[in-house]
Amino acid sequence: MMLLGALILLAPLVHASVLTLQSPRFTITSTNASQARAEPISLVKKASPPLSLGPTDTLKITFQVIEKDSGNGVQPHQTFLRFFDEVSQEEGIQPLRVNSAGKAKFELNMAKPPLSLPPTSKDPLKVTLIIGSHLHSPLKVELFDLHVPASHPPPQHPDEASFHPLPVIQHTFRPDQKLPPTTISAAFSALVLAPWVVLLGLWAKISPRVPRLFSPSIVPFVATLTAFEVLLFWYWIELKLGQVLLYGAILAIPTVFAGKQALVSIGQQRLRQK
């Protein structure tokens, strides 16, 4: 009940805050008076046919801003005319001067078009009146569509060229390297293995005597060395670096002792032979 009462009290306030236009009019005057036109502007329906201005015509708009409730003239804080070309998305904003009684007058002389008029083409400009006041609800009125003579095309923004999507970057990679034909590979494999034949042939010819190779003092050294080579081969096949270093460190201990034993025994034999 309290709430309803508050709303009833507030209602006139809300109502008083609505603005409207009184006797809005446009007048087109022409130097040759051929296209002269003067009509009131309807707030609900755009003028038909759309307004059309020649290169020397003048458009005059007059209206008074009033409170809808009391009918008193109001000077709003902000009043703008917006010219908007829906096709090219160009727009111009023209501030209007409204006197303390709420009366405003705007003249658009096409012989001297204002800077706020956007670049135009043959498409119509949508003319909107925008009124702002911190005491009232904002008001936005679509006044009419306006044909004006086409201007120069809008100048291109200096940064326009930079603001486009760049072409998709195409990465080019070096083609995969290929193995040579099998015959060439096979021939060179045989060639690379050929020195082994030479080596084995020469060794067979020299046939060095290794009388102590399998003596108990030498065999452990040879075995540990073989184990080292096997470990490295295993590294190639599957082991990781850390594993190899670990196993190698472990294998190094017996290798050192076996090697010392083997080499000392050989050294002693060499000294005995002297």
């Binding site: 060639l191 080596l199 046939s207 060095p208 090697g259 050294g267």
Partner: protein, 119 residues
């Protein structure tokens, strides 16, 4: 290397004399090492020729193979010079056993890097 032969006819006798002297005066053990050096040289030359003439495509494999021959050659050559009885005066501190131990250690390290490169 002493074994390499020249095809120039003027030097044939010189080379023959050299070859004969090598065969007669070199201990079998050094010949054994020399055969290995010769093998390493041939192997390295063939691998390098393949790399230059055909492709170096598995480049890591080429690096591993070629560096193993070169590295082993260097290690073996130094072993040979240290165990050569004629160089005894130059390597008084280094016994043949010590030289062989160095050779083994160097070879294991070399083979570790070679298998590392082999991928």
């Amino acid at each position: 290397m002493a074994k390499s032969t020249s095809s120039s006819p003027a030097q044939t006798t010189v080379v023959q004399t050299l070859w004969k002297a090598y065969n007669d005066q070199t201990p079998d053990r050094l010949k054994f090492v020399d055969a290995f050096l010769f093998f390493l040289m041939l192997s390295g030359v063939v691998q390098f020729a393949y790399c230059v003439l055909v492709t170096n495509f598995p480049f890591n494999a080429f690096l591993a193979g070629f560096s193993s021959t070169v590295g082993q050659f260097v290690l073996t050559a130094s072993l040979r010079s240290q165990v050569n009885p004629e160089n005894k005066d130059e390597f008084k501190e280094v016994s043949p056993e010590r030289a062989f131990a160095d050779y083994v250690l160097g070879s294991i390290v070399l083979h570790f890097f070679v298998f590392n490169f082999l991928g």
